[in-house]
């Protein structure tokens, strides 16, 4: 068996083993350590000794033994009964009834919900999700976020402690809580994805792996919740966005705007999959923000050339999105779409409203103004706006792009 298959198997098993342990013994924090050690043992033993007949069973057994050891040494240190009596509601001390139906799949979902616990900061939620659900080692996570391993270890340890202190039982959140928690889970997955995708501040080869991991985890979540339109929408959005990754930067690492990207470098398979997903869920009605953003990405990805983009449809989608979330960035994108479908003066009118509103103080409204002025055939005004935008832009690629635009207009 090739080592990547081993890795796949281990990473798929990680949340299931953790779920099984926490269900049986509780102690999320200690169980998580035990699972990491079992995974490590498997990674060193399996390649030389061969795959056990029941890999999942093997992992659960090894992790359980390790957990028992860890708990025993803990018990020696602290008066465990007191803690248990304080933390665990009475019913949870009893073993679940034999006919209680819960699949391994549900365990993965519960682990995911636990990792995205509201008492944790997004940074901790991300770290814990990557470790407990993604099965990534602390070293790998620390590298991906460019922090020392020690810092990441402390962050994960504190996160687990917080979950323990919250006394949250290992079960699915109640129905009203579930929607909130799912939104947090989707947000964390999206943050992991953008961390990998938008690393314009310093090209680092490790970051795209985070996008790949986010897509893998979202795929898994969709397998668990196939009926949830927003989960499918998020997966579609990631696939449709990630499909353009190779074309986003030029040979010298400069930013290439979508209109100038070489569409042959877009990933056709990923686009096809994303379009199929979003086409499946959109007709179900009540589209959420992830579905709408995926639909917009799909319209861009399906256009044979920038000129053939269906801007009228994009405008309509942004209008719906605006009603859902009053967000200045969405307003700005909407203004661009209106300019492209109805002409620059209609876009400028909307832009003026956004500028008066003053919520966006960075270079973006100025850059849009510059583009729209250029479209209207006013090179002097466009040049002035490009320069003003360049002065305000933070990243070097953006500054170079905007100064370059201004220079071409003189």
């Amino acid at each position: 068996m090739p080592s990547t298959d081993f890795e796949d198997l281990l990473r798929r098993s990680a949340p299931q083993v953790l779920g099984a342990l926490v269900r049986r013994y509780g102690h999320f924090d200690t169980a998580e350590d035990a699972v990491q050690e079992a995974l490590l043992a498997a990674a060193t033993q399996w390649p030389s000794e061969g795959l056990p007949a029941n890999p999942l069973g093997w992992l659960i057994t090894v992790a359980s033994r390790r957990l028992t050891d860890l708990l025993r040494s803990q018990q020696a240190r602290e008066r465990r009964e007191d803690a248990v009596a304080r933390q665990v509601p009475g019913g949870d001390l009893l073993a679940p009834a034999a006919d209680r139906q819960e699949s391994d799949g549900d365990d993965t979902l519960i682990v995911l919900f636990l990792c995205c616990h509201p008492s944790l900061t997004p940074a901790s939620q991300i770290a814990l999700t990557l470790r407990a659900v993604g099965g990534l080692g602390t070293t790998e996570i620390a590298r991906a976020f460019l922090v020392p391993e020690q810092t990441m270890t402390r962050r994960i340890t504190r996160a687990k402690q917080r979950i323990k202190d919250s006394g949250l039982p290992f079960r699915m959140p109640s129905a009203p809580d579930r929607a909130d928690r799912l939104a947090a889970v989707l947000h964390v997955l999206y943050l992991i994805f953008t961390e990998g995708y938008a690393s314009t501040s310093g090209p680092d080869l490790r970051r795209p792996e985070l996008s790949v991991e986010a897509i893998r985890l979202t795929r898994m979540l969709r397998a668990l919740l196939p009926q949830d339109g927003e989960v499918t929408g998020l997966l579609a959005l990631m696939l449709l966005t990630d499909a353009r990754r190779l074309a986003r930067t030029g040979d010298d690492g400069e930013l290439v705007p979508m209109a100038e990207q070489d569409r042959n470098r877009w990933d056709a398979d990923q686009i096809a999959e994303g379009v199929a997903l979003i086409s499946e869920v959109l007709p179900r009605g009540e589209a959420g923000p992830y579905q709408l953003q995926a639909a917009i990405a799909a319209v861009h990805d399906e256009a044979a050339s920038a000129a053939e983009t269906d801007w009228a449809q994009i405008t309509a989608l942004y209008k719906v999105l605006l009603r859902m979330a009053d967000n200045p960035v969405v307003s700005l994108n909407h203004a661009v779409a209106v300019a492209m479908s109805e002409g620059p003066s209609a876009g400028l009118e909307l832009l003026e409203r956004i500028e008066r509103d003053g919520a966006l103080t960075d270079h973006r409204p100025l850059a849009v103004r510059a583009h729209l002025m250029e479209m209207s055939g006013k090179p002097d005004a466009a040049r002035e706006a490009y320069l003003a935008a360049a002065e305000r832009a933070l990243s070097l690629p953006q500054r170079r792009y905007l100064f370059g635009k201004a220079a071409r207009l003189t």
Partner: protein
């Protein structure tokens, strides 16, 4: 021991790099890529050896906002560096065995390629020990 390694640059340096017209030799996109590669390879090696705490490049000095307290009220001004032309452009915080190792890293930082791949007259790099106050992480 933790040290801060500091790199300097003027507003003019930033403008030249960003492709704004200037009388200094201008940077091509390829030059920029080489510079970023240089910095990234340092970061990667420091992350691998476990010595990297943080590394950041700062945005152009013109984007600075200075806040001062005067006559009982905070006074806010833009672009405060009336007396100085060179300000911190970026920094590394490293956790290393001692000042000699930090010096080694700083020396590598100064070997950054410039326009046309030349290593011209790099501006000086400073190393300063970080005080051992307890961090919130240790509480």
């Amino acid at each position: 021991m933790k040290y801060m390694i500091m790199l300097y640059g003027s507003q003019q340096d930033y403008d030249v790099q960003a492709g704004k017209q200037n009388d200094k030799p201008s940077w091509s996109a390829e030059d920029i890529r080489k510079m970023v590669e240089h910095m990234t390879s340092i970061n990667k090696d420091l992350a691998e050896s476990g010595e990297l705490v943080d590394a950041q490049g700062l945005a152009a000095p013109a984007l600075t906002r200075r806040v001062q307290f005067k006559d009982g009220a905070p006074v806010v001004t833009d672009g405060p560096y009336a007396e100085t032309t060179e300000v911190i452009a970026g920094f590394w915080i490293v956790d290393v065995s001692g000042i000699d190792r930090a010096t080694e890293i700083a020396a590598r930082v100064t070997l950054c390629p410039g326009p046309g791949g030349t290593i011209g007259e790099p501006s000086p790099v400073d190393i300063r020990p970080i005080g051992e106050a307890p961090s919130p992480d240790d509480v």
